[in-house]
Symmetry: C2
Subunit: 222 residues, 2 copies
């Protein structure tokens, strides 16, 4: 007779690596946030400003995911923060195995917070757990206010929503981007989502985002 | 002895449907363009304006691909053009089988041009042939000028690049979006790509795009 072990869930290769990553992060009490958005929503600019403005309070490292080029890692390294570039070479998302390799090459014990900047794609990365503590979805106001309705999964799964490029709101106009609609649609999908309207270019709204990050880093350390 | 038919390429299910779609389009001499971009680059606005402004010269139908909602098909139908909404229910791209079904439900013989508006995603849809005559990539200036370098495949494969939202260029500034860099990077990947800087909101640059569409419709008919 065959014995089936019903107590053990069979994990996919990605889930195995995600579990390994989350165990490493938990042991070392490090916060790891997986940033997901469409291409060009401003993820790298948000990170460079956040790293620079928090440098005396939180030490940040970054894992950069891109299909091609190391343009983004170069922008992060210009802030003096450590950055590992992963080129997916065509693949539309980062995998937990790639993150596991990157974590081995980052000075994790010196860091408080590790950002993963995923491949620019509002769809596929939301389906792959990387072992992170939470997902951050970024939406630029130039993308339109119908995005939570049209791409619900990532809004449902994220700890926080950054509504970026609010400096463009005046030119785009409320007809084309109704920020209250975005907030309501996101909260319908995820009642606990934190929402920060920001401009990584002008700095508007960034303080609330920083306060939230400091609080989250503190929670992990306890 | 087994006989191997080396002359026949084994097609994937997607390629089989793509071939079937392209045969149908060729028999009926219809132009079919597959529009691909990040979420929020303005694909639907480009289509509604194009349909309205060309309505006396070209009859257009639309196949709308979205993960969720029929918001986009409703916007197309408001112009009186026929539109079929496909909900991929989580999938990150349209498949040729879905297009085959949609073509059966569109009044193809009455149309000159069928646009496929793919799921908002600059990565995955570029890998799936739908049987179309050509791909159109749309890039909004708000997404930044590094996108051809970072997402090269779709720029390499497209017949035309629409650089949309040029009405925002003045506020975004040349430092954040160098249009000459975009053109040069796109042409490095694809020396024959047609490039149209447009604003689907103000109408700027749309005439050149319309002239190109009329020329392409005429070519197919010959």
């Amino acid at each position: 007779m065959y014995k089936v072990n019903v107590g053990k869930k069979i994990l996919s290769a990605n889930e195995e690596y995600a579990l390994k990553n989350s165990q490493l992060l938990a042991e070392q009490k490090k916060l790891c946030l997986n940033m997901i958005s469409s291409p060009g929503s401003g993820k790298t600019t948000i990170l460079t400003r956040t790293i620079s403005e928090l440098k005396d309070e939180i030490t940040i490292g970054v894992i950069e995911g891109d299909i091609q080029t190391d343009l983004d890692a170069a922008r992060i390294r210009a802030t003096k923060a450590p950055a590992i570039q992963i080129n997916t070479d065509g693949a539309c998302h980062l995998s937990a195995a790639q993150i596991s390799g990157a974590l081995e090459n980052l000075p994790v014990s010196d860091l408080d917070l590790i950002f993963i900047e995923n491949v620019g794609n509002l769809v596929c990365p939301s389906a792959f757990e990387l072992g992170e503590n939470g997902k951050i979805v970024v939406l630029s106001v130039a993308e339109g206010d119908d995005k939570p309705a049209k791409y619900p999964v990532i809004f449902a799964k994220s700890k926080a929503l950054l509504i970026n490029k609010i400096d463009l709101l005046e030119v785009i106009g409320q007809v084309d981007f109704d920020i209250e609609r975005v907030k309501a649609d996101a909260r319908k999908l995820n009642k606990n989502i934190e929402i920060f309207p920001i401009s990584a270019k002008t700095g508007e709204g960034m303080t609330d985002w920083y306060d939230w990050l400091k609080k989250e880093v503190k929670k992990i350390r306890m």
